[in-house]
């Protein structure tokens, strides 16, 4: 049975706030405004990228795991200053933002996504598809991710993952 059916509905304002928040995150990444990225999360947080099969098995290690805003900051600093890779962009296509309920003061939200990646030479491909499983808290009117788990449909990643999904 679909959990959402009997979930406590968020009011329109809250839903709008959450939807804009999730949408803005995608635009932020695709616009390469990555310095803003850590600001989307609470100080203590979870950012995890793990494939669907491993997630189902309850594996504790996927391909990325950050547990503090500091780690997110370090990721971006590394991306800007340390890591070597070929220039490329993501384009996040989101579908079906659904609020599934509330838990411990956070809204549980699920959103399907596909990320289209464009390399500098022009190659376009679907880099990843899957689902965002989020816990969103609202602190003085501003939503923040307490937890954002990216559950990828594929266990295979092409070349490397440096830009956050």
């Amino acid at each position: 049975m679909d959990a959402s059916r009997n979930a406590p509905e968020a009011d329109d304002a809250t839903r709008c706030l959450i939807e804009n928040f999730i949408v803005d995150y995608a635009h932020m990444v695709d616009d390469d405004r990555l310095e803003e990225w850590p600001g989307y999360f609470t100080e203590a947080c979870t950012y995890r990228i793990i494939d669907r099969a491993s997630h189902a098995k309850g594996r504790s290690i996927g391909i990325m795991e950050c547990s503090s805003r500091g780690m997110l900051l370090d990721r971006i600093k590394a991306l800007r200053e340390a890591n070597v890779y070929e220039p490329h962009f993501y384009r996040h296509i989101l579908s079906g933002i659904r609020i599934r309920g509330e838990k411990g003061g956070a809204w549980l939200v699920e959103t399907s996504y596909a990320v289209v990646r464009t390399m500098q030479e022009g190659d376009i491909s679907v880099f990843s598809s899957g689902k965002y499983v989020d816990e969103i808290v609202i602190e003085n009117g501003r939503p923040l991710f307490r937890s954002r788990v990216i559950v990828c449909d594929s266990q295979r990643f092409d070349t490397l993952v440096v830009i956050p999904i």
Partner: protein, 413 residues
């Protein structure tokens, strides 16, 4: 070898320090490797015993590009068989993993036991005495192609070749010892993933053996001023030079006391990290080995980077593509604190690895930079032209030369 494409390449008369770029792109060379190398006298890693604990548990994998089934038979032994039905070539196991009491081909229900013997042919006797297999049909001739298997500390190796030495002799004492050290206890599988790379599989295996690039290509530690304990280290090779270990050991010095403890190293270094807990580690091995990258011929890697332990298998997927499979491990008796440290350290490796993500892309750059000059060669002469152990890891490419020594010997070029 006149009709050998590999032999036609621009090899220097002898030695292992000039590699013709054509070996990374030529389709015929690639096809020869499938036969002479991946089906030659080598032991290929195909999975872990933890993945097939119960009788009938199986997982599928590849040796070179040949699909294989890895299964635990009714005696509790591990069997490895080519995943190809003897009837008309269908994959006998479709799923990546599962459990089965027998191996049944879905196409016409030819049934094999867990050792690969053909036990039943559907309608083999025909229907009402009509049809069926000829009287001279001998099921014993039509089992699955079963390979030689050896296991060590949960690692499953298989070979197509009767000429392959026993695993212990194939690896040699040093290689064996490192596997003992890293994996010789109750290990737990913490995660698996795959990484696709736009380059010939050998470019990745060279990269793994290439201690020269580590402190240069990967800028993460330098950027965040992660000055590890002063190290000594070097390269160990098997006697034939085919396999390698590059390692670092924490020297006994004033930080030793602290590092010597089994508790997490409070991170004085990495002070530029916003969250230094990312690099917190503990002295897991009495020998003080902080880093050991081991590769066994042809395409298997065992990694210990501080407390990040992983296995890697590099599968060829055509001349210009390969896939890297990862198994990330922990010890069954990790404390919660240690387990958390391993998880955090896992951010260093894999497709998103802060330290090693570059290894996923540099091979593709070499592919693109060199593919149009198949007759030109690399120069692999850092640290000389020979194949011998050394106490210096950064300024040598000796273990890459070892790889090519094995290559020329196996390919007969």
């Amino acid at each position: 070898m006149t009709d050998s494409a590999a032999a036609r390449m621009a090899w220097q008369k002898e030695g292992y320090s000039r590699i013709p770029y054509g070996v990374y792109t030529d389709p015929e060379v690639y096809a020869e490797e499938q036969q002479k190398l991946f089906r030659g006298p080598v032991w290929s890693f195909v999975g872990m015993e933890q993945e097939i604990q119960e009788v009938g548990d199986y997982r599928t994998n590849y040796i070179g590009e040949t699909p294989v089934i890895v299964v635990r038979d009714k005696d509790g032994d591990v069997q490895v068989m080519v995943n190809r039905c003897a009837h008309r070539g269908n994959l006998v196991c479709i799923a990546r993993e599962g459990n089965a009491s027998e191996l049944t081909c879905v196409y016409h229900n030819w049934r094999y036991d867990l050792k690969g013997n053909l036990v039943n042919v559907a309608f083999g006797k025909g229907v009402g005495n009509v049809g069926g297999m000829p009287d001279d049909f001998d099921p014993a001739q039509f089992g699955l192609h079963r390979l030689r298997v050896e296991t060590l500390h949960g690692l499953i190796f298989a070979t197509f070749s009767d000429a392959a030495l026993p695993l212990r002799d194939f690896l040699g004492a040093d290689m064996w010892a490192n596997l003992d050290r890293v994996l010789g206890r109750d290990m737990e599988l913490l995660g698996t993933f795959k990484q696709y790379m736009p380059n010939n599989w050998k470019l990745y295996m060279e990269n793994v053996r290439d201690s020269y690039h580590a402190s240069i290509l990967h800028m993460f530690q330098a950027t965040f001023r992660i000055n590890r304990l002063s190290m000594k280290g070097g390269i160990r090779l098997s006697d034939n030079g085919w396999h390698h270990i590059s390692y670092s050991i924490a020297e006994t010095d004033r930080e030793e006391a602290q590092y010597n403890s089994k508790v997490l190293l409070s991170v004085k270094d990495g002070y530029l990290l916003s969250d230094p807990s990312l690099v917190a580690s503990w002295r897991e091995y009495d020998c003080g080995t902080t880093l050991a990258i081991q590769s066994t011929y042809p395409n298997f890697v065992v990694q210990q980077i501080y407390n990040s332990i992983a296995l890697r298998l590099c599968l060829p997927k055509g001349p210009e593509e390969c896939e890297l499979m990862w198994w990330v491990l922990g010890s069954a008796d990790d404390t919660a604190e240690q387990r958390e440290a391993r998880i955090k350290q896992s951010n260093m490796v894999g497709p998103g690895g802060l330290i090693s993500m570059e290894d996923g892309v540099v091979g593709g750059w070499v592919q693109r930079g060199s593919k149009h000059d198949p007759d030109l060669t690399t120069i692999v002469e850092m640290g000389g032209r020979d194949v011998a152990p050394t106490e210096e890891g950064r300024a040598t490419e000796v273990s890459i030369r070892g790889f090519w020594k094995g290559y020329r010997e196996l390919m007969g070029v």
